[in-house]
Symmetry: C2
């Protein structure tokens, strides 16, 4: 097999969220009857059940009608949009952002992550990645020929005080030559938030070891009752060594527009723009206009969204907690839960297929978030509440049928 | 300077089309008065002067209203869209395209080019690139650590019989281990079309030397009177070694949606999907819906668009031809002209800035299309016809002022 084939062998997509239709059918031995119920796809949020920010379509239409100047923005995004975003995200995070030099509009937060990694990793560079964390992070390191250094997150502690990040291992990794540390906060897939102490310690270690920090804050607006959130960029860190990524996507149900924002180090932003120029030129011009609705939702809209999702979380957790031997961390932010299943006598890969084909429920296998998570599944619970509960009951029924 | 900084040093964007506002102001010695007239930006087409395909906004709105299934398509694009595109592009090119395996919807044709190069180039691979050709091609080879092998295009022949591609040099390059040949047809920036004989010869050489062909056919719908076009994919080539890229952009004024399509080799398409999954997940879901309008324009719409552009071409050529010592090839397809200027006593880089700051005309320097084109400028003439003529008069006046 040639080099390029080998590289792409490592980048499978058939188990990634939303790609299930590409899976080849395999011979599975089903137990019991097929469970009836409407299909629930927990691989991503349901934007029909939780609608986009009001007015977002209107903003798009105004962008279209604006014509050429909106269609052909600078590669880093239209100036007016950058100014608006710099102000809003500056307020949100508590830092000052220069709209000319320190911010870039991207094709989704995925686009921002790709550009950030492409702009910082040289072949062979060591990159620290949390496990579990967002499924694309490890693939990005592989694609850019970096060397993956996994840092464990002990997210299942009884009385969690912070996310459970192993800070000793992180310092060890930094000592051993890691150049870049990429992590999501809130953590995807567990919904854990990094505590103030953890964030301060990461900032301190990064300063000592001169690490480039890339922080994916995609879910940082949907914080549930009782939890606090700390932006790493607002700590005492070298502003030229940190990049923060945010976007209006899941929380705001705006994924269909593919919008993301990266801000921070002007050196990294400059490189990201160069890469974006050859990657896709710019985020779709007309879509960029929709960002004006972000952080400008109608009064009470975000509060209601958080409350609705907190209720779904509580309902689903209650159902899961009745399963003997199943472990789960209560989601602190965002819309994911990552239950660790009791021992089964089928493989995780087969179990996920069984759920889909015999239970009408789509979930993402834990192995997408780290090779060790062969006993966990991820659910995005931004779904219709009633259907979601029924679907979780079906998952629980299947766990019993296939329990070891 | 570290490795990654060096790499990005080579990927400048400040002279790229549309990026002129990022250029640092320099001290220029202007001659004569500032020329008056409305700003004309020849760096890209004017979608206000030449409007998008009718109904494209409606298709977008329908996509938005469809909700989740449109927002979250498979990474390779929604199945219905792929089926529609496979059929239309199959008819257009004269080949059969499998919608499941051989086609991918991308984030603009730029996205398709990036994915195609990322999916085929291994570090050190030799890649043949035509000079002049689209400005991003060389940067893509650099970014993916390929080795650039330039193939000259003698586009200024008196009586051109074909594009002027140097087929001997191409065969030599293939003999010397080139793995991939990437070129645009019609050629950007010259507007030259490859003849039937050239296309047949490229197919033959590619078969002999087992070359992967990547053909950017972005302008292949806008063919001017008297010229014929031949799709390389319809020739006798190994279908697993060719990828064709098209998109509704300049010709159709749909750039603001960022849509492209790649079709051909299922091996390459599979890899491109894997890369797209970590690059930006998918082309914006709602935008994908707009593709239904492409190749389905109202009767006569494309004919009219071609006729209007042919008239602009003829008018601008007539003005340019009055300049002594200026050489130009008559555009055969697409909306570009690439005049070679007579000797000036300022650098091309300064002359382009003078045009912008003192002549209210934006053009792209020839050096974006190959390092040797220090005496050429590129214009996208998809502009308001009257304004375009006035702007070309201003360019001619400036040539006289700065003539050596």
């Amino acid at each position: 097999m040639d080099l390029i084939s080998k590289k792409f062998e490592k980048l499978g997509v058939e188990n990634a969220p939303g790609q299930e239709s590409l899976q080849k059918e395999v011979k599975l031995k089903f137990r019991g009857e097929k469970l009836q119920g409407e299909l629930v796809d927990f691989s991503h949020g349901d934007v029909d059940a939780h609608e986009p920010i009001p007015g977002s379509l209107n903003s798009f239409i105004e962008g279209f009608q604006k014509g050429g100047s909106q269609a052909y923005t600078e590669y880093r995004g239209g100036l007016k949009t950058r100014q608006d975003m710099a102000k809003k995200l500056g307020n949100f995070t508590g830092i000052k952002i220069d709209p000319d030099r320190e911010i870039l509009i991207t094709s989704g937060t995925q686009g921002a992550l790709f550009l950030a990694m492409g702009a910082t990793i040289s072949s062979g560079d060591r990159v620290a990645i949390v496990e579990p964390d967002y499924f694309a992070n490890r693939k990005l390191v592989t694609f850019f020929d970096g060397q993956l250094v996994p840092i464990p997150l002990d997210y299942l502690q009884e009385n969690p005080d912070g996310s459970g990040l192993n800070l000793e291992k992180l310092e060890e990794a930094f000592q051993q030559g890691v150049k870049i540390f990429l992590f999501s906060n809130p953590n995807n897939p567990t919904g854990a938030i990094y505590s103030k102490e953890e964030i301060k310690k990461i900032a301190e270690l990064a300063s000592i070891y001169d690490i480039t920090l890339i922080v994916d804050e995609l879910y940082s607006r949907q914080i549930f009752h009782g939890f606090s959130y700390y932006h790493l960029c607002a700590q005492n860190v070298n502003p030229e060594k940190i990049l923060t990524i945010l976007g209006p996507s899941k929380t705001e149900s705006l994924s269909g527009f593919r919008l993301g924002v990266a801000f921070g180090s002007s050196t990294i932003i400059d490189r990201m723009e160069k890469l974006q120029a050859i990657m896709c030129l710019r985020a779709a011009g007309y879509c960029q206009r929709v960002l004006e609705r972000w952080f400008d939702e109608p009064k009470g809209w975000m509060d209601k969204r958080i409350a609705v999702h907190q209720k779904i979380r509580d309902d689903l957790l209650q159902i899961f907690q009745e399963v003997e031997g199943l472990q789960i961390r209560k989601t602190e932010a965002g819309s994911y839960i990552f239950p660790k299943l009791p021992p089964l006598d089928v493989s995780l890969s087969d179990f996920v297929k069984i759920l889909r084909l015999h239970g009408n429920v789509i979930v993402t296998p834990g192995t997408e978030f780290g090779p060790g998570f062969t006993d966990s599944i991820r659910l995005n619970f931004s779904q219709d509440p009633e259907q979601a509960k029924k679907a979780v009951h079906r998952i629980c029924e299947m766990i019993e049928r296939y329990r070891k």
